[in-house]
């Protein structure tokens, strides 16, 4: 079985302990942070295991690339301290089981688009000039769980499920033959470029982040771009913490299509998670805490003057789309915003 590559010596030598010091959901000073992370590295219990809301952010905060979040989740499982009630864990684990037949492997060459488990959103990309000529993997929603990257189980304290299933998913993706794969959701991108290497899981294709792809594609279509002029805020998803090197493409895309990227408190490294995973956690007060951070986040969007809230993650959209809309801000996927910029209509 795959083992997490985590080096405690890096934590010992760390000057900042930013992984826990910067946590938005726990109040920890540097000394305590060092103690707790080393406890975890040594396989001991820590209050961090109970208080972690599984927002992924410490993966980005760690200055050493040492995967503190993966360690926390691994230890939650090893010590049986699952953040969610048992029925939610069971439900979550079962959700990824394919049940409607085997995938059809269409052979592809070059670069392809992987919809993962979001093939129901195919209508948002099919027919768009942005994705022209890009063959699509996982276009059949009946078969989408064969392409489910499994990373969601980090929220469930279940690295074992990821490690058990991921190799099969990678084999299915690889069987299509594409050498490069653009992932519609950056959770998939994070799986193949961060999680898999951290656990020594081999990935035989190159992954491309959607935003990087969109940016480059927009450059190709530069003559067709019409400045949109909107004031936009961005709801950064938890999984983007696994690919912080790609986060600058948000600002680059916004700049290219002439929308104003509004400054706000919960931006970039200080982004606030959508709360979807916090809602059901068994720690007392989780529901109320979830509602509070969602309110803070949306109030912050309003205060910043956002007209459009741009989403990358369909789960964030599902969680925050309606309340954002009720607050008078239009929720929009990044791909849809880019489509608007080249004059396409968005349903």
């Amino acid at each position: 079985m795959y083992e997490l590559k985590f080096d405690p010596d890096l934590c010992m030598a760390c000057d900042t302990q930013d992984c826990l010091v910067k946590c938005q959901h726990m109040d920890i000073d540097q000394e305590a942070a060092r103690t707790e992370i080393l406890k975890l590295a040594g396989g001991e219990d820590s209050f961090v295991l109970r208080d972690c809301v599984t927002c992924y952010a410490c993966e980005e905060y760690c200055p050493n690339g040492n995967h503190p979040f993966y360690l926390i989740v691994k230890m939650q499982e090893e010590l049986g301290m699952f953040p969610l009630p048992d029925p939610l864990v069971k439900s979550g684990v079962q959700v990824g089981i394919p049940f409607r037949g085997e995938p059809v492997i269409d052979e592809m060459e070059g670069t392809a688009l992987n919809m993962g488990v979001f093939s129901p959103l195919l209508g948002r990309v099919a027919g768009s000039k942005l994705f022209e000529g890009l063959p699509i993997i996982s276009h059949d929603s009946r078969k989408m769980f064969h392409y489910f990257c499994q990373l969601m189980y980090l929220h469930y304290g279940k690295t074992s499920v990821i490690n058990e299933r991921l190799d099969g998913i990678i084999q299915t993706l690889a069987a299509h033959g594409a050498k490069e794969i653009v992932h519609f959701h950056d959770e998939c991108y994070g799986t193949y470029t961060s999680y898999a290497p951290a656990f020594g899981i081999e990935v035989p294709f190159k992954s491309i982040h959607l935003f990087e792809f969109l940016y480059n594609r927009l450059l190709e279509l530069k003559d067709e771009i019409r400045p949109l002029g909107y004031k936009v805020v961005y709801q950064r998803p938890c999984s983007s913490r696994l690919s912080s090197d790609k986060h600058p493409f948000v600002a680059k895309i916004f700049d290219l299509i002439s929308v104003e990227y509004m400054d706000r408190e919960y931006k970039d490294e200080n982004a606030m998670c959508c709360g979807a995973t916090i809602l059901g956690q068994k720690k007392e007060g989780s529901r109320v805490y979830c509602a509070e951070i969602q309110k803070k986040n949306i109030d912050d969007m309003k205060k910043a003057g956002g007209q459009i809230c741009v989403f990358n993650c369909p789960a964030c959209m599902q969680t925050l789309g309606m309340p954002v809309s009720k607050a008078g801000i239009m929720p929009l996927f990044m791909s849809d915003l880019c489509r608007l910029a080249i004059g396409e209509k968005v349903g």
């Binding site: 029925p87 959700v95 007392e284 989780s286 509602a291």
Partner: protein, 452 residues
């Protein structure tokens, strides 16, 4: 052209009476596992006068008649067991009155629930009625004839408990009215006149409901589906009891199914909360999850799946998709809420024996006074073996309901016989007498609730 056909044409016009095989074909079918049964005629009256004339004709000629609403029961209750005339009531679909302050509306019984919902949403958005868990084409009259339940079952009970008055065409063709409308006082109450409850739940075997005064209820501006999950089925009755104690949920339903896998051996409890403001909704969420259900969350044996979702009715019909060929039928039973665990366990065993992924659902009726529990069985319409498995599973389930001391809801003929075998002799005699007095020629949906 037969003389009965000509008489029917004379009553309703040529376009609305038929004895043509291609038109009778449609009416010979039910969506469930029942074998086709052919009527000789189909007629679609537009007015009560026309309906009276049709019924008089049938009574004179001793021709069986079967009233048909949306044809959604799946249990073959509107199939002509002895041929005769199917009376399709869907053209009798007028909204006659809405009394906003009195919170009731008077409608012709052939109106669909979908039309009422749509009308109220557009014209009286602060009012709602209890739409059943059936396709919107289900009619008011059909639903009352089977004691249906709907969106408001938790606070207000069966849909037949939400009736302020009735007009019925009797098997003789005469008209009778019940409730305050009977004394010309409007349609605002069923009480306090002497009870003559002879038409609700009879499958049209005692008369044809033509007009109904439906109680309407406050319709809040916002409505959200909050979903809770437990793994241990033994917890379900208590979870429902705890939520019911609050008296706030508009609808309360527990479901479990083998497919999709996320629902397999888990019990999802859908709690429909409503409010006129976010504050009202948040108060209800707080009382539901932070107070009543907090012990389940704290102990890690129950969890919030989702909040704020739009209301979506449980779609057990989706189970028809788990076998190719798109068929499903279910047995419903009215049982105490405490029966949920046993009903679930035994039902999934029956499904297993017949190679059908299990699908069960329990909807709370009243403040946990009872529950409509349903076991759905999918089959492939093009595969006789799977149809037989489903039919056998349905019969086994009818027998299970009897074994558990439950009450089969809208039973098919097989289930009706099981119920009648167990019926209190006094009630049985009275049913027989009522039927004999009202329908001496035995023309009304014969085969249904027939006491030998």
């Amino acid at each position: 052209m037969s003389s009965i056909h000509q008489e029917l044409v004379n009553i309703v016009g040529e376009d609305y009476a038929s004895n043509r095989r291609e038109e009778l074909f449609t009416y010979s079918k039910d969506l469930g596992t029942s074998q086709p049964l052919w009527p000789e005629y189909v007629v679609a009256p537009k007015t009560t006068d026309e309906l009276q004339a049709v019924v008089r004709l049938a009574n004179e000629t001793k021709t069986p008649i079967v009233p048909l609403g949306g044809g959604m029961t799946l249990a073959g209750l509107a199939l002509p067991q002895q041929g005769g005339v199917i009376i399709d009531l869907k053209r009798m679909d007028k909204i006659l009155e809405v009394n906003e302050q009195g919170r009731y509306m008077v409608v012709e019984a052939g109106i669909s629930h979908g039309k009422i919902t749509s009308y109220l949403k557009k014209n009286h958005p602060n009012l709602m009625h209890s739409e059943p868990g059936a396709p919107p084409a289900a009619t008011v009259g059909g639903n009352l004839a089977i004691h249906g339940q709907g969106d408001l079952a938790h606070p207000y009970g069966f849909n037949t408990d939400m009736v302020n008055g009735l007009e019925v065409v009797l098997p003789t063709g005469d008209i009778a009215r019940f409730g305050s409308c009977a004394v010309g006082s409007g349609w605002y109450t069923m009480h306090p006149l002497p009870d003559i409850g002879l038409f609700l739940g009879w499958n049209g075997a005692t008369g044809i409901i033509t007009k109904v005064s439906l109680k309407l209820y406050p319709c809040k501006k916002f409505r959200e589906n909050n979903m809770f999950v437990v793994e241990n089925e033994e917890f379900v009755p208590d979870v429902l009891f705890e939520i019911s104690h609050l008296g706030m949920a508009e609808d309360l339903i527990a479901t479990s199914s083998e497919i999709p896998p996320m629902m397999n051996r888990l019990h999802y409890i859908s709690i429909i909360n409503t409010g006129d403001s976010e504050e009202e909704l948040e108060f209800k969420r707080h009382m539901t999850f932070d107070v009543q259900l907090a012990k389940y969350i704290r102990n890690g044996v129950g969890g919030i799946v989702s909040l704020y979702d739009e209301r979506s009715r449980p779609q057990v019909s989706k189970s028809a998709d788990w076998k190719k060929g798109g068929g499903f039928e279910y047995v419903g039973a009215i049982v105490p809420v405490s029966f949920y665990p046993e009903c679930y366990r035994r039902g999934s065993e029956i499904s297993g024996r017949h190679f059908i992924p299990y699908t069960v659902l329990g909807r709370v009726i009243g403040s946990c006074h009872s529950m409509m529990f349903s076991w759905s069985y999918a089959f492939n319409r093009a595969d006789d073996a799977t149809v037989k498995h489903a039919r056998d599973a349905l019969h086994e389930t009818d027998e299970l309901v009897m074994e558990l001391n439950g009450t089969i809801w809208k039973p098919a003929i097989f289930g009706q016989k099981l119920m009648l075998e167990r019926m209190d002799p006094g009630a049985l005699r009275l049913m027989k007498e009522v039927k004999k007095i009202l329908d001496p020629n035995g023309i009304m949906n014969p085969g249904n609730w027939e006491v030998d």
